[in-house]
Each structure stands twice: as structure tokens, then as C-alpha cells.
Subunit: 130 residues, 2 copies
Amino acid sequence: MTRNRFLEEYSADCTFSPSLERLFDKWSPCVVSSLAERPHRFGELHRRVQGISQKMLTSSLHDLERDGFVLREVLPTGRVTVEYSLTSLGGQLATLIATLCAWTQEHADDVIAARERFDRRQEDEDGGMG
Amino acid sequence: MTRNRFLEEYSADCTFSPSLERLFDKWSPCVVSSLAERPHRFGELHRRVQGISQKMLTSSLHDLERDGFVLREVLPTGRVTVEYSLTSLGGQLATLIATLCAWTQEHADDVIAARERFDRRQEDEDGGMG
DNA sequence: CGGAATCCATAACGATACTG
DNA sequence: CAGTATCGTTATGGATTCCG
């Protein structure tokens, strides 16, 4: 719950509502963008979102459902079958996430280059001042 | 480093570059939006961003500088004086953050209402089935 | 003032085992 | 299949102390 300061109360001139913890946790963005493509069963998501544990998937889906981003439906098959899909609010969230993805990809090179410059400068300062 | 799965390698149809850890950590968005308004000294930021520890401010600024979002300048005053400002890339990040803030605020009520519905349903299911 | 270094609490997460 | 429960590890961040 202390994930991002915006999520709590206040920050300088910028107040995130307490509604967007989902954007900042580890797996929810992945889950949402999978569901943006089509509804998934639990097991499908588990295979689809590489590396997620069943515990984290359960927890992400639970939180996303509680916040109104995801709809959980028990299908009337013989065995236990559950389908997850996005609500319309969840669809908006997915769009937002996609926008973020796009921006980060556009500027990935800039950031990587900045890191390399920074790290080189650090080395120079540490070493070259005898 | 494991903050968000997007930041590592892969997620279903959505690949965050490794460049945006800053968007997902606890304080950087607050710091960036403060700097979006005007350059700040270290101490100013410390007072401005309510609740941040000196350690976290140092660490956020360091990471933001390394990624090319923030510029750090030692001013030629008598004593130690450092000013932080956004680079142009940092300005873009600030805009993105502002967009996120706006969206979360618009839909804060929706999310809160969804939570209440969900929690009420839970209670009903737990209690009312004797 | 602007930090760095250290210590410690806890929140987040992963692995595993079990259930209807 | 779709979870729940438990346990151990690691990541994160707060408090404190010290330094040029």
C-alpha cells in the first residue's frame, strides 16, 4: 500500500487518486494488457503472463476485479471454469498502459544512452584524479 | 529492480522498456512533478515533497539524473549549493505523469464505488448463507 | 547545505503444498 | 481447473548518524 506516494494522500501539485495502485504494481499491467486482447481463463493467463506465480495472478485479478477493471465470470460448464475480461473502465486502463508502453519504447534509447554517459562520468571521476 | 514486470523482459503484447522504473517507484513521480513547476534545491525538494526521507530523495534524484530526466548543477556560490531541474526528456515524463494523475482523478469515484460494491458482495456471501 | 553509510522493519514476492 | 494457506526470501524504504 505504500507503493507510490501518489497513492496515499498528497504530492506537490499532483494528486493521484487512491485508485491507481494497479498501475504501479508488478503484474497488473501485464494482466490487463493480456485481457485487453481477449478474455482469458485463469490458466490461460497463468501461461500467458510469463513468470507470474499463481499467488500473484490470483491477487492481481482479485484487486483488479475489486477496483472495477476486471469482470470475473464463472461459466456454466461441468467443471470449474472461470473467465476474466475487462470492464469498460478496464479498457480505458489498458489504453493508458499501452500509451505508457509506447512512450517508454520511443525513448528507450535516450535513457540507455543517458545511463551510459552517466556511468562513464562516474568512472572518470572515481579513477582519473590522481 | 523487480518493481514491475514490464521493466524486465516481456509481457503479453506489451513491452515496457527498461527505462521507466522511475514511473513506478514510490517518490520519483512526486519529485518530477515538483521539478516540472520550477528548479529546486535539494532542501527545497525535501520540504516540498511531503514525507520523503533524505535517503529516498537522494536516491530518486540520482536515478532520475542517471536516466537523463533530471539535470544536477552545482551552483558557484560560497557554500554548497545544488540545483535540480528537468531535462527536456524529463519534461515529457512530467507531462505523462500529469496525464496519469488526471485520469485517476476523473475515475476515482468509479473505483471507490466499485470497491464498495465488491466489499458488500463479499460480506453478503460470507454471512448470508446459513 | 547536500549528501553518504549503516541499521532495521516490513511489504512484496516466490515456492511449495493442499483443496473443492 | 481455479484457487487458498503457509513459509521463507528479498526488495524497499524509514530513522539515525556522520561528513565535507
